[in-house]
């Protein structure tokens, strides 16, 4: 789960970590009041959307489609600047390299005091899957695309694995500060910050914390100038405070409803709806549809123990997508019983008045019973023995890849 920069900075501030003063705004008036109250001549006016690349993005008028402004993060040197930038940002569509062409309408703004920067650094904390340990990555090449740095100058990225129980030791913090060529007051400021930030990462069950840039001010203080924070969905049960930060307008509506029904759904661009049990098999089903010349309309995993009602919900979610021209159901029953799926398929087809072609492949636990139920239903359901056969059939039924 992702949150906005202003929310991340709120968490940092509460944890005593060094961030600049800033105000979350939703209107131009609020932005102007924020400027007056901050009392700084120079402020940053920052678009708040979940995607990255905001600084280099473009703002468009959502109605006319005209470009309104280059750059979703602006430095304002006057009250007038704030007014112009806020007007150009709020309610307009920000397109960055991470949003896709559709972009995101910006509803939130963060007005933050400026500071005198000496140097920009990159800092991230995440879990290293291969080492099964939290990993801190830091670089003196801040403010840049870190993937480019990793490509062109991998030695510039310093990595530190941290024992989750022990946290960042003073020695580790010293070593990292030295690697970043920090000395004196800046090193002391860095050490305190990195220990606190790591503790927050663990306490809040973060999936990733990325600060780009982390800056050293002219007064040798380290300041977290950016805050990209995401959380482990599986751990949200113990963080009601984090759940409250969720901005549903940033998430796909159908994906939210699927999640509520215990389904895992991701919308794609094709026209063949898929209903599968198991994430790996669901991905393989998409791959095989493509292999036979079709395009999958979605990823949908009904999970291990779906019941009739969930199967029905899954069908209705697939059918909400107007581009869907046919559906392939692919179930290898383990925990899932094929007879339950068959009953769910029939209930859903009848309730939703399904007219699009439907191919069903059932294998595994109780598959004979499942196939018998489908055969005796009298409905126009095509069956298949293998995934390849199922994919071939559905592609043929909708008439190729159109």
């Amino acid at each position: 789960m992702n949150i906005h920069e202003y929310q991340g900075k709120g968490l940092f501030r509460d944890a005593g970590l060094p961030v600049l003063e800033g105000v979350h705004c939703k209107t131009v008036e609020e932005a102007l009041n924020a400027y007056d109250n901050l009392g700084n001549k120079v402020v940053a006016v920052k678009s708040q959307i979940h995607a990255g690349g905001r600084g280099k993005g473009k703002l468009y008028d959502p109605n006319s489609g005209d470009v309104v402004m280059e750059g979703g993060v602006k430095i304002a040197f006057s009250r007038d600047d704030v007014e112009i930038f806020a007007t150009n940002i709020i309610g307009n569509r920000l397109v960055t390299k991470q949003t896709g062409e559709a972009g995101k309408i910006v509803n939130n703004l963060y007005v933050e005091s400026g500071c005198a920067i000496s140097h920009e650094y990159y800092l991230a904390i995440l879990v290293d899957r291969e080492e099964k340990m939290p990993l801190i990555m830091a670089s003196t090449e801040g403010g840049m695309d870190i993937e480019e740095v990793a490509e062109s100058n991998p030695e510039a990225i310093h990595k530190l694995h941290v024992d989750i129980e022990a946290g960042v030791t003073t020695q580790q913090a010293d070593e990292l500060a030295t690697a970043l060529k920090l000395e004196g007051a800046a090193a002391a400021s860095f050490n305190e910050m990195i220990q606190g930030l790591f503790a927050l990462f663990v306490e809040k069950d973060c999936a990733m914390v990325e600060i780009n840039p982390l800056v050293r001010t002219e007064d040798d203080e380290m300041v977290l100038l950016d805050a990209k924070v995401s959380f482990d969905e599986n751990a949200l049960f113990r963080h009601p405070d984090i759940v409250e930060l969720r901005d549903l307008s940033e998430e796909e509506d159908t994906e939210i409803r699927a999640k509520e029904a215990g389904l895992s759904y991701v919308k794609l661009d094709g026209n063949i709806g898929c209903l599968v049990n198991g994430a790996g098999l669901a991905m393989a089903t998409m791959d095989v549809i493509k292999l036979y010349g079709g395009e999958p309309a979605n990823f949908l995993d009904v999970g291990g123990g779906a019941d009739e009602e969930q199967v029905k919900t899954a069908f209705s979610i697939i059918l909400e997508d107007p581009s869907v021209k046919g559906i392939l159901v692919n179930i290898f029953g383990g925990i899932m019983r094929c007879d339950i799926i068959a009953k769910g398929v029939i209930a859903a087809t009848e309730a939703l008045g399904l007219e699009d072609p439907l191919v069903v492949r059932l294998v595994g636990t109780n598959f004979e019973e499942g196939r018998r139920i489908l055969a005796e239903s009298g409905l126009n359901i095509h069956t298949a023995e293998t995934l390849a056969e199922g994919a071939e059939k559905i592609v043929a039924l909708i008439g190729g890849d159109e």
């Binding site: 899957r129 098999l281 291990g304």
Partner: protein, 307 residues
């Protein structure tokens, strides 16, 4: 022979009194697996009816292992308690009999709980963790066998192919594919689709390489992380037996989590095509479609003079 779990292995079920625990333990017993009892804190002294037999319940893993000399445990407890259940099992196996296999089926365990649990398990020699978020491990036998997990038992048969997979249902596809060319399995291991798990591809591949009964291996990967690439490198340097592969997620878009917590292409890394390229470079023949795994495996067996 098989890897890690013999067909008559004695198995304890953690969370046996829950719906999932009772249901799957009953299925294991029907398959002929040696379920010797279960653990649910606060329910020690009770018994659980598993259809063909009734088994005792203990409060603690140490008591259960002392009473039964169990070789393995399987965990069906809810996500928020699963990390602690793994640690309890690891400590108990170490304390009572110097080793054991822990199979964690539970899906949805917080990642940092798994970081703590795997760090702990790694520090204890002789204890192996399989999973979490996996179908489990099965060693088919002459009659039945050891089915430790949620896979449908009836699709398996004893044979000479080892299977290792990140995905549950794709493992079943791989099993069905071996059966389609009249080959059975030594052991099938689901290593799970979470970002942080216990046993990995290389652990399984090296065990299959060392197992005299295993003639060839099927390896099923999916997008996310770099475990497949590292396994491919290991295979190129160490594996003498044929390995056949499949990687799911060729059509997955970057930045979107495809069901499994670990199945996400991030920062352009972890794509299926990169993984397939690394595997093929290591001599692992890959199928484009799970329905072709049987044919690719047959060809590999023939080329190795095994058919």
């Amino acid at each position: 022979m098989a890897i890690w779990i013999e067909e008559d292995a004695k198995i304890i079920v953690q969370g046996i009194t829950g719906n999932q625990g009772t249901f799957h333990a009953t299925k294991s017993v029907e398959f002929g697996s040696n379920i010797v009892g279960g653990v649910t804190p606060g329910k020690g002294g009770q018994t659980v009816d598993l259809g063909l037999k009734e088994v005792p319940v203990w409060n603690k893993m140490t008591e259960a292992i002392e009473a039964t000399d169990a070789d393995a445990s399987v965990i069906y407890v809810p996500p928020r308690f699963a990390g602690a259940a793994i640690i309890e099992a690891a400590n108990a196996f170490k304390e009572v009999k110097d080793g054991g296999v822990i199979v964690c089926i539970t899906e949805g365990i917080p990642t940092l709980d798994m970081v703590k649990a795997t760090t702990h398990v790694r520090s204890i020699e002789g204890v192996r963790l399989i999973g979490p978020n996996c179908p489990g491990i099965i060693t088919p036998g002459e009659t039945g066998g050891a089915k430790i997990g949620i896979m449908p038992g009836h699709i398996h048969a004893k044979g000479r192919i080892g299977i290792v997979s990140k995905s549950g249902t794709l493992t079943y596809e791989a099993v069905a594919q071996t059966m389609s060319i009249d080959e059975g399995q030594t052991t099938c291991v689901g290593i799970g689709g979470d970002p942080v798990n216990g046993t990995g591809f290389i652990d399984c591949l090296s065990a299959f390489e060392a197992d005299p009964q295993t003639a060839a291996v099927v390896m099923i990967g999916e997008i996310g992380g770099s475990a497949e690439e590292e396994a491919a490198e290991w295979v190129a340097e160490n594996m003498s037996k044929p390995v056949v592969g499949f990687v799911a997620g060729m059509t997955a878009p970057p930045g979107k989590r495809m069901g499994h917590a670990g199945a996400i292409i991030s920062g352009g890394k972890g794509t299926a095509s990169e993984k397939v390229a690394a595997m093929e470079a290591a001599g692992i023949r890959c199928a484009n479609d799970p329905s072709e795994i049987g044919a690719v495996l047959l060809k590999s067996l023939q080329d190795a003079g095994l058919r």
